[in-house]
């Protein structure tokens, strides 16, 4: 085995992520190659020093003596505050139930209150401004996105309050924490403050169309017709207000191949000439003037959205003011944004997006890949 190949494996060896087979190869090589052995020993020493240092640093942190006592007090207060929580039968506490309930609310809203709360025109623009920050299409995802928005129009405040009161159930029982939340309780208690901590992202309408209806835990019509009557009407308006894209965009959003997207849009969407190992195009969706390519690479997703600037609402200076980082894509000024998010079972991740405008198009490449990878993909678009 060549030395450079072995050197690459030394890190895995130290991280204990190497296969037994490879470990044997590395060990054999180290036995006969002095240069590699020297490199290995230095890294091993650095590893040991780091371990010693970090262990010492961590163990020197004194844990407050009454930490557990205070946590238990907080838990007791929590129990006293939400005694009803424990009385609910498990089925009513399940995320699936909450998803079904929300779906019922949405359906009721769409068909019953649509006329009253329709804001299509304005909403469409807003929705189109933020390219895909959507992630796993889990039940309740769309709702989670929507519930996170603190900017509820005044006329809906009453609804919001009611929704929030019920929200203890909505949030804890089905609506997993989102980015800024990292725990629903935290998000709720900190209120607008914590929400403002992260730029609230709206997901791409295409994605929402995909998830908004299909992703709500497959509600069965027979169940969705039976939501709690005391809850449904009260939160319907705000939910309706918040879920227009699944309805509004449905007529215009299409799915198919890149070729079809190109044909129907009168332009050929740019394709990446670089893709991370194993990445595959999952699907293509489009609405007039905008095409979204969704890729999957192992467990990670990323998306490439190309759209007319007026639909994408990308403003370089504004993005920077909001904490974006300037990067260069083939010499063009682009903005890198990173946001933490958390999925239903608490899985955390970072959503990164790179956006820029060139030649009458705004591009957005976003996903859970490391920034370097996204930039590489972005730079390879042709």
């Amino acid at each position: 085995m060549r030395c450079d190949a072995v050197k690459l494996m030394i890190d895995d060896f130290l991280d204990k992520t190497i296969s037994v087979k490879k470990a044997v190869i590395v060990e054999e090589h180290l036995g006969k190659c002095e240069s590699c052995r020297d490199e290995f020993e230095k890294l091993q020493r650095a590893d040991a020093l780091l371990r010693k240092t970090v262990v010492e640093m961590v163990s020197q942190i004194e844990v407050p003596a009454d930490l557990n006592g205070r946590i238990k007090e907080a838990l007791a207060r929590e129990r006293a505050r939400r005694p009803w929580m424990r009385r609910l039968p498990p089925v009513l506490r399940s995320p699936a139930f909450a998803a079904v309930l929300l779906a019922a609310v949405a359906v009721a809203g769409i068909f019953g209150m649509h006329g009253l709360f329709n804001r299509d025109a304005r909403r469409t623009d807003v929705v189109m401004q933020e390219p895909g920050i959507a992630y796993q299409s889990e039940a309740g995802d769309a709702y989670r996105e929507e519930l996170k928005k603190s900017r509820v129009p005044e006329e809906n405040l009453a609804d919001k309050n009611i929704a929030q009161e019920n929200g203890s159930m909505l949030q804890f029982d089905g609506i997993p924490p989102g980015y800024g939340e990292a725990g629903s309780g935290a998000g709720q208690e900190k209120g607008p403050d914590s929400q403002a901590a992260v730029p609230v992202r709206q997901s791409l309408p295409m994605e929402d169309e995909k998830r908004g209806v299909a992703g709500t835990g497959e509600p069965s019509p027979s169940i969705t017709g039976e939501p709690s009557p005391s809850i449904t009407p009260s939160i319907t308006p705000s939910i309706t207000e918040k879920l227009p894209m699944s309805v509004n965009r449905a007529q215009t959003l299409k799915k198919g191949t890149l070729e079809e997207a190109a044909r129907e849009n009168d332009f050929s969407p740019a394709r990446p000439s670089y893709l991370p190992g194993g990445a595959e195009l999952q699907d293509v969706s489009w609405s007039p003037g905008q095409v979204c390519q969704s890729y999957r690479s192992g467990g990670l997703h990323f998306k490439i959205v190309q759209g007319r600037p007026d639909l994408m609402g990308f403003d370089y200076e504004e993005e920077l003011r909001q904490g974006g980082k300037p990067v260069s894509i083939n010499g063009l000024k682009a903005v890198l944004q990173q946001n933490r998010f958390e999925t239903e079972d608490g899985a955390a991740g970072t959503e990164t997006s790179v956006r820029w405008t060139t030649g009458g198009w705004t591009f957005a490449v976003s996903g859970g890949l490391p920034p370097e990878e996204l930039i590489k993909i972005a730079s390879s678009l042709k």
Partner: protein, 184 residues
């Protein structure tokens, strides 16, 4: 991961899920100290760290019924702790815009060599690393969690965890090669 699940932890979690408050208290005893230390490393503030640990337990308590044992409770709990830490950092950053810029430039950044250069104390060197690097080092060396677990906790690819570990090791190796010994 299912294979790595600690059976006794799983039993405790199931008991807690069925409403056994003592079982949940046991989880608090098992993880509060390490969570506090981890949060302290990230936040560099004891009071913030304590708040975060408390919030993390409350969050897990509220959502316990929806926890499906797809990961270990520990992994889930750490995810919540880490996310709350990031929330708090963002809040601090927002409150101090100037600091926010510094943090942002370090966030994805490489080692700030000029910062590290000239420091002889290894602990200071570790302390001067970006939040993400400190966190990975703390979880890996301090909490003895493996690369895969850390990648689950942080929601980042295992390769990224490894590259953070490797860059820390390489940084130190270079320093050692230059003949500068660290006083430990």
């Amino acid at each position: 991961m299912p294979g790595e699940k600690n059976l006794s932890e799983e039993n405790i979690v199931r008991m807690a899920q069925s409403g056994d408050e003592d079982a949940f208290a046991q989880l608090v005893h098992m993880y509060s100290a390490d969570a506090f230390r981890t949060a302290s490393v990230v936040l560099r503030n004891r009071s913030d760290a304590e708040d975060v640990v408390q919030e993390a337990f409350l969050t897990c308590y509220r959502k316990l019924h929806s926890f499906r044992m797809e990961s270990s409770f520990k992994t889930w709990f750490y995810r919540v702790v880490v996310n709350l830490c990031y929330d708090r950092l963002r809040k601090i950053n927002r409150e101090n815009a100037a600091y926010g810029r510094i943090s942002l430039s370090n966030r994805t950044g490489e080692w700030d060599m000029s910062e590290v250069e000239g420091r002889l104390d290894l602990k200071e060197m570790v302390a001067s690393l970006s939040t993400e690097h400190r966190l990975v080092l703390t979880l890996y060396y301090g909490m003895d969690l493996g690369v895969q677990k850390i990648s689950e906790i942080l929601g980042i690819p295992a390769g990224t965890v490894k590259s953070r570990l490797n860059s820390a090791r390489n940084l130190l190796k270079e320093r050692l090669e230059r003949g500068r010994e660290y006083a430990l």
